[in-house]
Symmetry: C2
């Protein structure tokens, strides 16, 4: 990216992560370290030369590092400690995007792994989950698992073990609302959330 030539934190940030695809690559690596091929799959629409270019740029600027996998035969991409701190601005943008998500997917590609970022971003610090609740999340594909923890929620694939409940929800519902498969009362009945008295984003996320 061409420099903005401005001594401003925002401008200098954008010179590192403002190029097209860059923040989406960071999104994928926030979900989990990944190999080249996994990144291609998790970033539908990206051209292979662009992914290679961007990975080089991000490595040169200290956001991404390439590591050898266990066998040492192939490389794996992961975020540096500084790169992982992009979780905050990315979660902020996900929260900001809520009005853009209500209209649903409209043919856009969707990957369940994206919920691992979006759900904590939308719930974190805004609700008081029942301690150690485990909720299965059925979005039509692989069963996801939402587990409450100290810092909010962790989202991942359901591996095994008992669940306190399973709810069926459209991605639109979890990603920004709409659809309305899961209402606020549903969530409260399931013991998934407790509203703190004030109007909160949970009302938006879960309302029909």
């Amino acid at each position: 990216m061409r420099s903005y030539g401005q001594y401003c934190g925002l401008a200098r940030s954008l010179e590192v992560v403002g190029d097209r695809w860059n923040l989406l690559i960071v999104r994928q690596l926030l979900i989990a370290p990944a190999r080249y091929r996994e990144l291609i799959e998790g970033l539908p629409g990206i051209a292979t030369n662009l992914l290679a270019d961007r990975l080089r740029d991000l490595e040169a600027s200290g956001v991404v590092e390439r590591r050898l996998t266990g066998t040492g035969s192939t490389v794996e991409y992961a975020l540096t400690a500084w790169g992982a701190e992009l979780r905050q601005p990315i979660e902020s943008l996900i929260r900001w995007s809520t009005p853009l998500m209500v209209r649903g997917a409209e043919g856009d590609a969707f990957r369940p792994e994206w919920l691992a970022l979006a759900v904590p971003a939308l719930l974190d610090n805004r609700v008081t989950p029942r301690p150690s609740a485990r909720i299965g999340l059925d979005i039509g594909g692989p069963l996801l698992q939402l587990r409450s923890c100290d810092a909010g929620f962790q989202v991942g694939l359901h591996d095994s073990g008992d669940l306190d409940a399973t709810v069926r929800a459209e991605p639109a519902c979890m990603l920004g609302l709409a659809a309305g498969a899961l209402t606020l009362d549903d969530a409260r009945t399931l013991g998934l959330v407790e509203i703190d008295g004030q109007e909160s984003v949970v009302r938006t996320v879960f309302a029909a």
Copy 2:
């Protein structure tokens, strides 16, 4: 911007504000509503056609609105309520940029008004300011005023009235550290901040 075609909050956000210059335009409007000419001045390096294009895009997507000034003779650009919520992700990026600011300006353009965003972003919720402290901030240009309030700090041009203290600081110091004109002890002595016991970003901001 060409669509990413991904049903993901981050991707949809970037389709609105991910284009080059877009977030910097929002930065300027977060500082204050402005006219076309003021935006050109506050965005050194932007081409006039690009600013016009971007303002059209941002208006169409509901981030910016154009209003008539008091006299009704000229237009002024301002953020919508939704656009103003970009303060959160922008402040996050400013915090993230700290390692990029330590090397100083290096010939990049600098405008004191940018501090009005950066200083609160770096201090907010991380320190306990003495109630209603008023600190003059001498960065070599117009005298800035830093006033503690409930939500953290407000930064603006010093208009009039008594100040509790005046400190001389390099922009690098306030924007991300380095330079070291203002130490943590300076700040504490001035009653500007009290550290909350834990290591905090203030240590980074004010350390030499």
